[in-house]
Every structure is written in structure tokens, then in C-alpha cells.
Amino acid sequence: MSLDADLALTRGDLALRIGLAVGPGEVVALLGPNGAGKSTTLQLLAGTLVPDGGRVELDGVTLDDAAAGVHVRPRERRVGMVVQDYLLFPRMSVLENVAFGLRSRGLPRDRARAEARGWLARMGLEGYERRRPAELSGGQAQRVALARALIVEPRLLLLDEPLAALDAGTRPVVRAELRRHLAGYGGCTLVVTHDPLEAMVLGDRVVVLERGRVVQQGPPAEVARRPRTDYVARLVGLNLLTGTASGRTAELPTGAVVALAHDATGPVHIAFPPVAVTLSLRRPEGSARNAWPLVIADLEAHGDLVRVTADGAVPVLADVTPLAVADLGLEPGGQVWASVKASEISVYPA
């Protein structure tokens, strides 16, 4: 089974135009900022929205063809979906919610329920069978929604932030369960997530959407190493600059110059991790060939480090120790020099 989609839809100020191919058994993680069109894409694939243009083919069968006026109705698509706000049927019990899809496909009640019970157990929800959705916590509701979608073994599985509400303890368990399920599953899967780790763990491939377009795609590691947009860079925790290289230097649109470790020409992306940035109060004299004067915009503790946001000709994020913050007396509005060794910088064509 494979999905081949070419979608066009204008909705408010979103102009969605994306091509998407998912192979049999492949799991594609869909990333992108809020409002990029991820949920809209899933709705189009599920058939609850009708595209303005383009076509959708699942397994050789045309589900949508705007030009020919073809639109297969949701229930004939055999698509499973977990939506951002769960939409559990409020008047059915948890068990009935999960069993609903199997019952709809004609399974006898007892078998459907037995299987639903199994899924609930895998989601860590034994004993919740008879609850109503209103009696669940957020994370419990999300797990029920996930079980409800997975149980029907759809040809196309669409998961919209399926783990967002899970607690830190349950999330790896459910994620592992989901990964196990997806590994032994021949259909196509699209998972929307804001969690880079989740995208890496679950996705065979990552597709990044911004403003309705695909801006980057590829294997998770590749995308993580070579971000092509600010969003991806922030997602994977890298600084990203764009400039024009000639030889061992690159010039940024602001006029600033960045020294490179290897030769390059033409438009390039320049990426380096925040921990590679050293801050000092005076212009550094060491081996770091890149040093830029900046103004501190923000300080924020995370984990053992403090993330410093600094603005200037070359805006950077820097991760430094709390000790360094104290020593240098860093505070918003303060002047500071940031330096990065050329060897820490990766450069690739834009």
C-alpha cells in the first residue's frame, strides 16, 4: 500500500500546495510551525475536507481528483485518524469508543469488545472500559483516541499530535507501543508532532511544512544535521544562517562575514550548535576565527545550561553554564562577543 498525494487548498490565508508520497509500511513524521497546514493536510487525506485541486491516490485507487470531480467519502477510505482534540464519542463508554470501528466493519460485538479491551490494556488503561469520555483525564482521553484509530488497521493512518498530552512516564511506553505497531503494519502512516524526538523515533522520513509548502524532507538524521529553515534549526537546536559563500568565507545579507573550514561557493546554509558558541566580554583572541559583537536579548535556564539569545549582525543562540553567566554578568541588554570555531560550523548549499 502506498499513498501518492498532490494537494491544493485555499483556506483563509493558508494556501496549501503539497506533494506527498508515502511508501508501504513507511512512517512519515510531519513537522511544522503552528498554522503550517499539518492538520489541514490530514483532514484532506481523511476526506473530511475536499481539495480545491490535485489528486490523492492510495494503493492505486484514486481517492480525490479535483479535475475529474472525484471525491471518495471518508468512510470508504479506510483511513484511521487521531485528531488534535480527540473527539471521543461523548455518549459511548471508553470500550464502545474503541470497539466502534470494528463494529462498523461488521465484527460481532463480543469480538470487537475483546479486541478493544486488548488495545486499552496496551495503552495502560485497564479498568477504564466503562468510563465515559468526560470522566477521563486529558492524557487518558488521548490514549483512547489512539487505540480507537489503531484498532481498525486502516490503510492510511493519520495521527495528529497523538502523544502530546501523555505524561513523561507513559509517553515512552505508548510511543514504543505505537512504534511496535507501526513496524508490523503494512499501511502508510503520517504522524504530526512538535516533538523532534518523537519525529526521530517514529518517523522513517521527516517532512517539514511551512505556510502550506514542503520546505524540507528526508531521513530524520539528515534533516536534523542540515536544517534548511529557521524553524527546523530551532527544532533540532541549531543556529542557522543563510549567506553567499566564496572560498573559505560566506557573507550574510547583513554584511557580516563568517569564516568557514572548507571551500564553498554560492548560496549556502550555515549551521552550528548553541553549545559551540563561546561568549566573552571582550573580543576573543583565541583560535576561533568567527567573533561577532552582539546584544543579549534573553536568558533562559534549561537543564544544566542557560540559553542566551543574542541579537546583532549575526543573531545566535548560545548555551553556557550558569557559572559563566555569573562570571560575565550576563543580562538582557548587555554587550557581549560571541565566537565560534570554523570547524564547528557545517555548511551546505541552500
Binding site: A46, R75, G80, L87, G101, S104, R148, V152
Partner: protein, 268 residues
């Protein structure tokens, strides 16, 4: 089972209380007038008379059957109006409310012209199957359905429009047929609206008079329901008996409605 306690809001906004009190007064005071006027002495003998008991039974049976018919036919109509894009849907919606504005006697005449022995449909039924509707209990039900079903339809359509359609989309993605979706997702979601509509419908059917008397006639035991009995009393100048019969209908309907709704909606 433990119940979740909800906040209890003892102070009700006065801006709402004043018109509410006025509304309740308009509806309840006339009943007080009836109660004051009722001939309490003659009550037992009137209420236990054979005619009244027969009429009461007939009224309850026909109103209930009519509500059943209205549910079976009316809920799908409401669904068509709320969920599909039939061409001419808005005209259909208008037509469906017509029995509300039609003076009941005209409604009865209209029913005769269609289902009567010489009517469009009735003529065919009569010639083909020898079936004649007027003056039968079935005719009472038909008249009540005609007059009362619109209430159900409008109430259910309103509820369907308030309901969140995304649940239906989810059901569809899970492979439910539109029938399953309707039955297991849509309908339970609008249950309070359906109940409200059924209550309206039942009450209206119980009180139905004009169309019944014209289309079904008035014969004790087969077509003479309580309102017809009351009307006979009024025409005979026996306003007091009419009042007693009306109070009986009120008592029956209030009892049944209060009992039903408490069971269905939950008290407290």
C-alpha cells in the same frame, strides 16, 4: 457510582428572573382560573363516566402511536434538512412548518381532500384495497401526525444544527456507514433535542382537535378523543364539564411528562 458535584448557582440574574416570572404567570395563571372554576363536587362522577374513560384511553393510545410515527418519519426529515444539500431544501423546511399555521379545521379538510374516499390518495386506496381512512382510529393518528410532527422536526433540526458535526466525520473515518453514524453517533448526540421534540409532539397530539374532528369524525370509542369530548361539552353549553376534561388532560400530561423527563434526563 459517585456523582460529580457541580457548582450550585443560587443567585439567578434578576434580569432573567423578572421576564421568567412573567412568562410563567402567563402560562400558569389561566390554569389556576380553570381550577377555581372547576365544579369540584361533580368531579368524581364526570371523571369515572364510561365515555370519559374511553376517550382518555383512546387519547393516550393515539397520541403515543402518533408520536411513534412522528419519531420514525420526522427524525429522518430533520436529518435531511440539517445535514444534506437537497435542492429546494429551504422550501421543504418551510413546507414542513405549514401544519402549524394551517387552521386545524382547514387542515382536516385538506386531509379529507387527499386521504378521503374521493381524495387523491384515499380514492386510490379505496378503489384498490377497499381501505377507507376517514372515521377510523387510524385517521385520528394520521391527523395527529399531520399536526404534531412539525414540532418534532423543527426541534430535532435545531438540535442537529447545534451538534458538533466533527463527531460524524470521525465515525466516517472509522468506517461507519452513514446509517451507523446516524444511529450511534448523531442520534445519541441530539437525544435531548429529540426528547424535547417528542414531548412537544405528544402533547400537541394529545390536545389535537380541529383536524381530528374534521378528518376522523367523532365517534365514541373509535375517534372521540378527550379534546373532542371537551368540545362536545362546550357546544352543549357545558363549560364546566369541558373544564373538568381539560384538567384531566392537563393532569395526565403533566404527570406523564414529569415522570418521563425525570427518568430520561435525570432529576436533582
Amino acid at each position: 457510582m459517585s456523582r460529580t458535584r457541580r457548582r450550585q448557582d443560587p443567585r439567578v440574574p434578576a434580569v432573567l428572573l423578572i421576564p421568567a416570572a412573567l412568562g410563567v404567570a402567563i402560562l400558569v395563571l389561566p390554569m389556576v382560573g380553570l381550577v377555581l372554576r372547576a365544579p369540584w363536587g361533580g368531579l368524581p362522577s364526570i371523571l369515572t363516566s364510561d365515555e370519559v374513560l374511553t376517550a382518555l384511553r383512546l387519547s393516550l393510545v393515539t397520541a403515543t402511536v402518533s408520536t411513534g410515527v412522528a419519531l420514525v418519519c420526522g427524525v429522518p426529515v430533520a436529518w435531511l434538512l440539517a445535514r444534506t444539500r437537497l435542492p429546494g431544501r429551504s422550501v421543504l423546511r418551510g413546507l414542513v412548518t405549514v401544519p402549524l399555521v394551517l387552521p386545524p379545521v382547514v387542515g382536516g379538510v385538506a386531509l379529507l381532500m387527499v386521504f378521503g374516499r374521493r381524495g387523491l390518495v384515499g380514492g386510490w386506496l379505496h378503489d384498490t384495497f377497499g381501505i377507507s381512512l376517514p372515521f377510523t382510529t387510524e385517521a385520528v393518528v394520521l391527523a395527529q401526525v399531520f399536526v404534531a410532527m412539525p414540532f418534532l422536526i423543527v426541534a430535532v433540526e435545531g438540535a442537529l444544527r447545534t451538534a458538533d458535526r466533527r463527531y460524524e466525520d470521525v465515525a466516517a473515518t472509522l468506517g461507519a456507514t452513514s446509517w451507523t453514524t446516524f444511529r450511534r453517533v448523531t442520534l445519541p448526540g441530539v437525544a435531548p433535542g429529540v426528547l424535547a421534540g417528542a414531548v412537544l409532539c405528544w402533547a400537541r397530539a394529545l390536545g389535537e382537535f380541529g383536524a381530528t374532528v374534521t378528518f376522523a369524525g367523532s365517534f365514541p370509542g373509535t375517534t372521540r378523543t378527550l379534546p373532542l369530548e371537551a368540545y362536545v361539552a362546550i357546544n352543549a353549553g357545558d363549560t364546566e364539564v369541558a373544564i373538568v376534561l381539560s384538567l384531566l388532560m392537563i393532569a395526565v400530561s403533566v404527570t406523564i411528562l414529569v415522570g418521563l423527563r425525570d427518568r430520561w434526563i435525570g432529576t436533582s
